[in-house]
Amino acid sequence: MAGFLLLPLIHPDARSSAADAGGGQRVRIAEVSVNVPDVALKGTDGRTVSLRAALDDGRPVMLQFVFTTCPTICPLLTGIAARTRQDLGKERERIRAISITIDPEHDTPSVLRKYAAIFDADPDWMFLTGSLPDVVAVQRAFGAYRGNKMNHAPYTFLRRSPRDPWVRVDGIVHAEVLEREVRKILGTP
């Protein structure tokens, strides 16, 4: 499969590679550097969560941006994350998953709670909302802000530890591909 050029506008320092996700579908995988802003978000129980603390809880982390009324991409992204976590079995407890809504004024804690339930989210998978400016700042930090939420990009971000770079998986990937990347991070074959 031919290599892929990443949009240099988004992350000039991104190192990229492409993988065949099967059926001719390409997945772009890149390392990106992210300076996570120090914002307080809210969990599905309405309690405040420091984003930095949630990301640095000692475990590897997997992060997605979604919104609950999103017609096509988010159900697939979330569905693949759910499938991956299911397939990981017990091991999923070793990796924290975080889904942050990009439509925070609609996706209040109680709306996110229902969404998480649709995907049978396990206890190590957090769904976060917050004020609009904070959520925009987080998306910008990850190079994932696209203005209108309908233009959002299908990214999944992975990181082994705060000392490691973020890995960005771009595309609606196969659960197997995501699982493979997650296992790389976890260091288990």
């Binding site: 991409i73 693949i80 309908m150």
Partner: protein, 520 residues
């Protein structure tokens, strides 16, 4: 199956993508991706193609929608028209008529033959009906006006709509001529032009009778959609009329939509006073200056907005568990409020807060009741009902008064209002009620912009979907701050400020952040 993802047997329909994401029930419903119109969408780099019979049973170069030609990279070359057999193969195995795999986002569904046949029949019927209110030359809309609305507000809305239509029709005469002169697919955009007409539907008498009045008007001369609209009381009958006749209604200027949950056909600026009530209860829960237990008196009129606000507040306050409404004071829908009536309440000075869901003129007539005693420590007013200047006429010490304000901060309205003032002046529309003018301008502009995207494909469902998509990008001024919708979302503005007065000045500043109440 298409809309809800439920099989005729009652079980959830289940699809699985090549990436092994499994989607069942509503998440796997075709309408989730292809939308109710069947026209698809374009989202974050994924083109969800149209699946109306019209689009599928023709070769793929049919420009069924703006993104029909933005297919997945390996499907750039056209493909032949679908047949019932190849369509079944697409749905079950994700293979197009040219034998290529569909994009990984399209799930595969293993459906029984009978279910599949029903689904295919449904696709053939999608957006295939005629479009009420649209003829070869004219596209007809209506706006609903409650006869009780005062002249100022009524004229403010109608002047804007009329000026917009005059402008629009002056600009489209040439396209209509060009469309007739140049046949063929290139003139599709030209052929889409219609002369606009907006009928003014005045409703009179008790609200219970509005439904019949609307129906009679509609039967006499159907319209494609309702634009704007204004009411002094409730809006429920209009909402129900729209659901029943599947007529979209875009952004009426109403303080209380008067409905429990969102419907499908009506799109509102906000939940109105019910949003204010929820935000206030939310705020009270976190305001340490309010004495506990919180004991509230709320005063409201026996009309649509009054009852909606009071009911929402009572419910919300109970949910936040910080206090209760100790007394409801219900004033008749019309007539003067009794003078100094607050003083006569048996609870006397026990209230920690008074919430007055009243208009500016009512507040002026209240006189100076118990305001000068120590209680209530807080008096809350609705900015929607009372405006921002009514506090001063209340006669209460302004440091006690708070305003629930679902609009941008005073002085921070942005360039929108200036723009609309210029637009109005250029069209000789006299300046009037600014919020009403701005809202009417927003409604009619976003409908016009969305309609442009439909080309000559006049589907109401598709129009709603375009508005959902575009609301967030709209730079047109409305009296609200940021407006945003999404698929299925029907209230575009979702929060409020609580404002207080800076002592000694007329200035209003926020207490805390923009509140988005979480109402389960």
């Amino acid at each position: 199956m298409y809309r809800e993802g439920i099989l005729p047997s009652g079980e959830n329909m289940r699809g699985e993508t090549r990436g092994r994401a499994s989607l069942s029930g509503a998440m796997g419903a075709c309408a989730n991706c292809h939308r109710r119109s069947g026209m698809g969408s374009f989202e974050g780099g994924t083109a969800v193609r149209p699946v109306t019979g019209q689009a599928l049973y023709r070769p793929s170069d049919f420009h069924g929608s703006a993104w029909a030609d933005r297919a997945a990279p390996d499907r750039k070359k056209p493909w032949p028209a679908y047949t019932d057999e190849s369509l079944a193969r697409a749905i079950r195995q994700g293979i197009d008529p040219a034998g290529r795999s569909l994009d990984a986002a399209m799930p595969r569904y293993s459906l029984a033959d009978a279910d599949l046949r029903r689904l295919v029949d449904y696709l053939k019927s999608l957006s295939a009906g005629e479009s009420p209110g649209v003829t070869e030359e004219v596209i007809r809309f209506a706006t609903v006006v409650d006869a009780r609305v005062g002249r100022d507000r009524r004229d403010a809305m109608l002047d804007v709509l009329r000026a917009f239509v005059r402008d629009k029709n002056a600009g489209t005469r040439r396209e209509a001529a060009r469309a007739r002169a140049v046949p063929g697919p290139e003139s599709r955009k030209n052929r889409a032009y219609r002369k606009w007409e907006i009928d003014e539907w005045e409703v009179t008498g008790p609200e219970e009778t509005w439904g019949d009045q609307l129906e009679a008007r509609y039967r006499r001369r159907p319209v494609f959609a309702l634009i704007g609209g204004i009411s002094a009381g409730g809006w429920g009958p209009v909402h129900r009329f729209c659901e029943r006749f599947e007529v979209p209604c875009f952004f009426p200027d109403v303080a209380a939509p008067g409905i429990r949950g969102p419907g499908h056909y009506s799109v509102y600026f906000s939940r109105g006073v019910a949003l204010e009530a929820d935000a206030l209860a939310w705020h009270l829960g976190g305001d340490p200056e309010v004495t506990r237990p919180l004991e509230v008196v709320q005063v409201y009129r026996d009309d649509g907005p009054g009852k909606a606000a009071a009911a929402a507040f009572r419910e919300s306050l109970a949910r936040t568990a910080v206090g209760s409404v100790l007394r409801d004071v219900l004033l008749p829908a019309a007539g003067e409020p009794p003078a100094r009536f607050l003083e006569t309440l048996p609870e006397g000075n026990r209230f920690s807060a008074a919430v007055l869901w009243l208009s500016g003129s009512d507040l002026r007539r209240l006189g100076e009741p118990a305001w000068n005693a120590a209680s209530p420590r807080r008096i809350y007013l609705s900015s929607t009902l009372a405006g921002t200047t009514a506090a001063s006429s209340l006669g209460a010490p302004t440091e006690r008064v708070r305003l629930v304000h679902p609009f941008p901060l005073p002085g921070k309205e942005g360039p929108g209002l200036t723009r609309i003032r210029l637009w109005l002046r250029a069209r000789n529309v006299p300046p009037g009620e600014e919020r009403v003018q701005a809202n009417a301008f927003f409604s009619v502009t976003i409908v016009a912009e969305a309609l442009d995207r439909l080309l000559d494909f006049f589907s109401r469902e598709y129009l709603i979907e375009r508005v959902e998509h575009m609301a967030e990008d709209s730079v047109t001024p409305a009296s609200y701050g940021r407006l945003s919708l999404g698929p299925g979302q029907r209230f575009a503005s979702k929060g409020c400020y609580i404002l207080r007065h800076v002592p000694g000045t007329g200035e209003l500043i926020p207490v805390g952040d923009w509140i988005v109440p979480d109402t389960p």
